[in-house]
Structure formats: C-alpha cells, structure tokens
Symmetry: C2
C-alpha cells in the first residue's frame, strides 16, 4: 500500500488547503471588516489555484494509477477502494479546468459576492450586473471546459449533483408542478391562517438561545461546531471536528432564525456524522447537494414544522416568549408556521410554494447558460416568471433577482438540488419511519437520537463514498422519486387546510 499511503498524504495536504479556503470564506461572511474585500479575493484565488494545482499535478495521476492497482483486491465498498475511485472521478473533472480559470473564478466570485451584498442593500442591479456578466462568462467557459453531451447546464449541475442531467430535472420538476399548481390553487381558496403571532417582536438573544437549545437536542455537537450571524445563512465544514452554521435573526419575525437554525443544523449534523477515518481524504463531506438538502429539509420541515415537534416544544417557546404567545394555541401556532402563500422571497417561502421558486431559477439558469437570456435582461425575465408562476411581481430587484447570493458565487446549477433535497428527504423519512417504528411519537417525546442515529448509520458516516443514486439504492432499493414527498405534502397540507 505504499502508493496508496503516499496518495493519502498528498490528499491530506490538499484537503488542508481547501479547508483553509473554507475558513477564509466563512470569515468573509461573518467577521471580515468591510474594507478587506479585495485582499480576501486575492487570498481565496491563490488558495483555490494552489489546491487546483495540487490536485491536477501530473505526479498525482501516476500515484492514483498505482494506488488503484494496490486496492484492486479490496472490497469495492471499502474506504480504500472508494477513496481511489472518488479521487479519480473528481480529478478527471479537475484536470479539464485550466489553473488560470480556477483562479479567475475564485477572484471574480469573491469580488462579485461583495458587490452583490452592496447591490442588494442598495437595490441596485446595474451595480451588480458587470460582476454577474463576468461570473456568467467564466461559468460558461467552465462548462465548455468540463464538456457535456446535451447542454452545458449538465456540466454545471454535475458539480453539485454528480451524474444528474438537466433532462431528468425537467422530468421530475414537471411531475412536481403537475401536482403543486392545483394544490396551491386549492389552498388559495381556503381561509388564510393568521400568522400575526409570528410578527410580534421577539428578543434576538432569546431567539438565538431557543434555536441553539433545539439543535443541541437534535444532536448538533457544539464542541465540534458553532453558530454565528451572517446576511445569508449557510453551513460550512473544515473537518469533521469543525462544522459551522450561520443564521440571521429578525427581531420582528420569528421563523427566519428558528427554522434557519434547524435547517443549517441538518446540514451540519451530516458533516459532523461523517466517519472521522475519512478526514483529510477528500471524502469527508456530504456526497451531493441534493442529499445535503435532504438532511436540512428533513430536520427543518418534516421534523421542525410537524405538529408532534411542537407538542414537545411549544410550552417552552411560550415560556420564553410569554407576552407574544400566551394567548396563542398550539394548533394556531402550528397553522401559522405552515401558512401557504405565494411570496417573493425563496428562503422565507412555505414548503409548498418553495419548489416553484426553485423551478423559476432553474428555467432562468438554463436560458442564461444556453444563451437565450443575457444577464442584463434578468430582472424583467425574473419578474415575469414570478408573475406567471406565483401571481406576484417583485416590487424591487432586492426582493427579486438580487435576493440570492448563489449566482455571485458562480453557483449555477445549484438551485435544482434544493428541490431534489425535498424529494430525497421524504424518501429517507419514510424508510426511517418504517425501520424505527414511528418517528412521530419519538419526536413528540423529544427523542431525536433514533432518527439522528439512523441517518448517521445510513447516510452521514459514508461521507462521499457513495453517490446520491448509490445511497438511495442502498437505502430504498430504488432511485429518486417524487411520490413520497408529494404524498407527504398532500397529507400534511390536506389536513391543515381541510382539503
């Protein structure tokens, strides 16, 4: 195993450089002073270029070949065999990208991210446009370099959801849309639940403490993680022993901090649950964004917005916010946090309309990448699609095309994984529910250990050893399906709205 061990040592150093870049990105979003943007962009570009050079180094190719021969006799599912397999797959992609393009993308996206933050605050799309044009051009160049059969979008999607194709997303999104549109319409005909109780003014520190107490109950390990504030909530990891989440706190609206914290903790527990033996191998992280989002959505929505969950926690929440919630019944609170209503902001959307937000972005991205839409025309295209799909026209670009950070980071092909995550979350939940003999009763008792351990055993510990498809096959015996999530949505919202 001489070559394999040398490979591991090299990949360990590569992982360290990638982790350092992740620390710098975390810092940029949380604590970095405003004037440091340009210097940070240089630093990130250099680290990402170095990591790229280390990964595409010619010597590594020979080492991978020799290591592959050494592990040929191992169980195909062993750590050793999978480490070599995944490294070969990822390196094959990486060598297609010129080092110059990697550095350009790193630097330009760091600058674009800062420009986006300012443009969003100032509702100034034109100020962001030149950055978006640069990032889009580099992203299309990246897609061309990576190669594809059908559409350049496939090359980009593959970065976040390996082996998924735009055509498959189109198919599954069509199936979703066919049920969602009538569901949204049926709900629109019902009386709207009153959610004034969520807008009563909530002490920010008390909100923070409540959220952290819940995720500690879930099993988020604060010795190996922490939570900070940022404009856009995210989760990141530098090792299995250092997994961080961020949230934002709105004094006048309870859901963003609370459900944001549960959501990000779902991501983070995935990373904290990876087998430490995979640390510094390149495989110690979630296998795809769809599977990642299945974890965040499962804890945020299927657990955190369930009636059983609030049967356990509502009295504590009432105690913490007695002036706001003393006169609000559990059922009314549960209806308020599950209120379905077309809205402008994706991250604040309910579970039902959320997927429509994602579909709009998917369609716009396809148009951008395939050249049918210029970045300059995005605000109009965005607003028209919102009007068509959700019956609402954004009152400003800040509440429209500027609301998401993703494109500034060059994350094109990322949005569909949010909806894929919804679908996978229901597939996993159904299987766990059957294995554990009823999750709902456990949640009502505040017992999250069985669900968390089931996820750790079947999903988390494997890191990137298995692809999303392989993981679903191992767990459910089948592939991606929309049925379980549609069934969940029909049941839950059918009951809530008496449909």
């Amino acid at each position: 195993m001489e070559s394999f061990n040398e490979l591991r040592e090299r990949v360990a150093r590569l992982s360290d450089v990638r982790a350092a870049a992740a620390v710098l990105s975390w810092d940029q979003e949380t604590y970095m002073p405003s004037g440091a943007g340009e210097a940070r962009a240089h630093q990130l570009a250099t680290l990402q270029q170095l990591a790229h050079e280390m990964f595409t180094d010619d010597e590594l190719a020979g080492l991978l070949d020799r290591a592959a021969a050494e592990v040929a006799g191992h169980d195909a599912d062993s750590d050793e065999a999978r480490i070599v397999k995944v490294l070969v797959r990822d390196r094959d992609k990486a060598v297609k990208l010129p080092s110059r393009l990697v550095a350009d993308l790193a630097r330009e996206t760091a600058l674009a991210q800062q420009a986006w933050a300012q443009a969003r605050q100032a509702n100034d799309f034109p100020a962001f446009l030149p950055h978006l044009e640069t990032v889009m051009a580099l992203t299309i160049e990246k897609a061309e370099a990576l190669g594809y059969e059908d559409t350049p979008y496939d090359a980009l999607l593959d970065e976040y959801e390996p082996d998924m194709r735009a055509s498959e997303v189109r198919t599954v999104f069509a199936e979703l849309r066919d049920e969602l549109v009538p569901l949204v319409e049926a709900i629109a005909d019902c009386p709207k639940p009153d959610d004034a109780c969520l807008r009563a003014g909530f002490d920010e520190n008390a909100q923070w403490r409540f959220g952290e107490a819940v995720i500690a109950d879930f099993g988020f390990d604060f010795d190996r993680g922490r939570q900070d504030r940022s404009a856009h909530p995210f989760s990141t990891n530098f090792s299995t022993t250092d997994v961080r989440i961020t949230t934002r706190v709105d004094h006048d609206f309870l859901p963003p901090a609370l459900f944001g914290t549960l959501h990000e903790a779902g991501h983070a527990m995935y990373e904290q649950g990876v087998d430490p033996a995979l640390d510094r191998t390149g495989l110690a992280s979630g296998t795809s964004l769809g599977v990642h989002e299945s974890q965040s959505r499962l804890w945020e929505n299927m657990v955190g917005r369930s009636h059983a969950f609030w049967r356990h926690y509502y009295s504590k929440l009432q105690t913490d916010f007695s002036t706001q919630l003393a006169g609000v019944s559990l059922d009314d609170f549960h209806r308020a946090i599950n209120r379905v209503e077309p809205s402008l902001i994706r991250v604040e959307a309910d579970e039902v309309t959320y997927n429509l937000h994602v579909m709009i972005r998917f369609e716009l991205e396809l148009d951008l990448v395939e050249g049918r839409l210029a970045p300059a025309d995005l605000p109009d295209a965005w607003n028209s699609k919102y009007e068509q799909a959700l019956g609402l026209r954004p009152d400003s670009d800040a509440n429209g095309v500027l609301q998401d950070i993703h494109w500034s980071f060059g994350l094109i092909g990322y949005f569909p994984t949010y909806s894929l995550g919804n679908l996978i979350s229901a597939q996993l939940y159904d299987r766990a529910d059957s294995d554990l003999g009823g999750i709902e009763a456990q949640v009502e008792r505040g017992e999250f250990g069985p669900l968390r351990d089931w996820l750790r055993e079947h999903v988390h510990r494997h890191g990137s050893k298995f692809s999303a498809t392989e993981l679903l096959q191992r767990i459910t015996g089948g592939g991606l399906e929309a049925g379980p999530w549609l069934n969940y949505a029909r049941t839950k919202f059918g009951q809530l709205y008496g449909l």
Copy 2:
C-alpha cells in the same frame, strides 16, 4: 523589470498563503470550537510548509538574482530596491530551515498552544511539559539550522529583532536594571496609591465600548480592522486592509480591557499605516517586534496612562461608570492606574516593574537554549527568580511559569523585544514631541491626529523597508538608547511618588 514583476507575482501568492495561515491562527484564538484543535494543527502545518516551499523554491533564487540586477540602478531606498533586499535577506534565512522542521514546528506549536491553554486553566504544568520539551527541542534545532556566532539565542532573537545580539540585550538590560532596582525600592518606601476604584465591578459591554471609542479617536480604522475577545490579547494582520486586535475583559478590574485595547491598537495602527503599495510584497508589516512594541507601548503608556490623556477622557469615563467613579478624583484615578507594585503577572505589571518580568524570561530562555536548564526544572527556576527580582514567589504555576502563551508557540527570543519597545517608544516620543511642538497639549485636547500622522510618516508607512536600526538612524540620527525611557520613567514616577 520582467524578472522583478514575476518576482512580485510569486511573492504575492506567497503572501496570500501566509495571510491565510494568519487567519486560521486568529480563528483558533477567537472562535474555533474546542474539538477542532488537531485538524487546525494539520491545516496550519500544511500552509506553513507550503509557504516555506514557495519561498525556498530554487527558481525563486534565480529570479531574485535577476530582479536584483534589474533594480541595481534604482534609489537604494525605493520600494523596488528594498523589496529585493529584504526578500534576499529573509530567503537566506528560510533556506536554512528544512521543510520538515517548519511543518513540525507549525504542528507541534499548534498542539502545544492548546495544551498550554488547558494546563494554565488547570494549573497543571506537568500536562504542558511534554509539549514544551518538544517545542524547545525543535526550537534549538531551528537555531542550529539558522546558525550563529556567539550563542544559539542570537539565531532566535534575529527572527524578531533582525541584527540584534543577546550580548547587546544583556548590556542594555544591565543599564536598565541599574536604575530600575533603586527606583522600585524608593517607590516601595512610599505610601501605595489606593486602586480600589479600579476593582469596583464594571459592565463588560461598557468597558468594551469605552475602549473602542478611544481607539477610534486614536485613528484605528474599523473599516479595515476589528476587535474580538481572546484569552491572551494579540494583534494580527492579513493585509493593510484587515488588521485585527483582541482583548480580554475582566468584570472586576478595569485596566486589562482598557489598556489592552489601547496597546493592541498601537500595534494595529502600525499595520494599518503601512503604504498599501507594499501589500503582498512581503514588506507590508512592521519591521521588528521592538519597533512594533514601541507603537503599542507609546499609545498604551506614554499617551494612555498620562495625566493629559485623562484630563481629556476622565469625565467621559466617570459618566460611563458613575457609580464606581463619581467620588474618585482625576488625580486619584491617575495614581491608581500608575500604581507601582511588584506583582506576579507580566501583562498586568506597571511600567516600572514590567521590564523586570521581561529580564527574568530573557535569563531563563538563555539558560534553556544554552542547555543549562531543562524544561522540567522551569517552575523552580521561575519561582526563584521572581522571589529574587520582585520579592514574590508565585502561589501557582498558573500565576507563574504558565502565564504566557509565547513558549507554547515556540516564540523564544521574543520577550526581550518588549523592553526594547519601551526604550524605542521614548526615543520616538521625544523626537515627535520636538517636531510637533508639544504632544501633551494635543493629547489633553483629544487631538491624536498629529502624533498618529507623525508616526505614520516616519515609522508606519515604511513597513519592513528599513530595519529597526536604520529607522532609528533616520529618525533620531543615532541608535538604540535607554536614556530617554529612563528619563521618562524617572520624571513620571518621581512626580507621582514625590521622589
């Protein structure tokens, strides 16, 4: 200038990697979760090894030679000429260190730093001892690799105070001690000022705000810096646009946070004042620790503990802490913050006895490095020296040999620069006072701009272009002198104690 420009590009990338390592170190001291220590040690070791490899790369030697030829016709004090000169000097040192030793030191000191923090908290020197032994052995190996004429200590001191020798430190420390010991004795015979007013219990957020308001007045730029909490206050910089300080806040004792903030801001304003043209050249940082400490001591002590300073700020402090300070006169407060009394903790020592703390560490370091003292025997040696020099024997190792973070970081040869900084601060202050026509009156009016701009013009903007000796020569026409600081101390404390 083709080679020079290529050199700059390479050194810019090297600076980025060093900056990334500095961000990771900052994070380790401020926000990193407790369980992440080992992973962070790996990450830091990899970055430092990479930076070392980039700096000692053979191609860089040729490039430096060719760049030196290109700038041969430039003014010897031009940025271009100085960049090449300083890079040649530093690279000559770096190539003497094997890459393996650099990585070992980075990893072992990261681990030792965490072990130190725990050992200090638990008052458990034996738990720290194996780490200290490892770090000391590696440090001595480093000194041998760097080479020296007289003592291995010279090789270590040179890292922090280029061109300074242990023998020179010994000489100037002897001159200091000859005056300090009788001064401390004379003060000991006087009635002690009452400092109960500093121990009255102070809201931590109010302490924080007061300190930040003062350094904003000094000219610390919060758009290019920030302050956080850490166990041991420090200042660090990732670019001239990102300079960070930390402090600790003691609810029951006013001085640590207040004067710690002023001290670290002195360091930080040096870094913020470097000419941005030097960013990413390797020269965009203070030239030596002695000069750095001259800046922190000047703002903390010569400004921040002066009577004039408190004539400006005391009424504001009284307003912020009215219950504690309403009945305390300006003169009594000024006497309290300048109370001279032998004590156990260096960072809380008064200006007069402070240098005795430094001398003890210098003597112990010499004994350690020259092999006369084993790390295991440090607690006894430490305690004996404190008894001898200050008349106090530490009641615990936490208040004795474990109080400083430095040795855990492998920073041997660093302590003397604290006292050198005191001496330089007085030399600079005297010169600025003469150039500006009386700093005291400006300070009393809260006008810090003239002093800050004088320091920026004569010290800050040059970064590492000139050595400490060159800088002193340019400013004062002479070299390092103890006279100005002794004169300052005699005058100030003579008045305070009526000697």
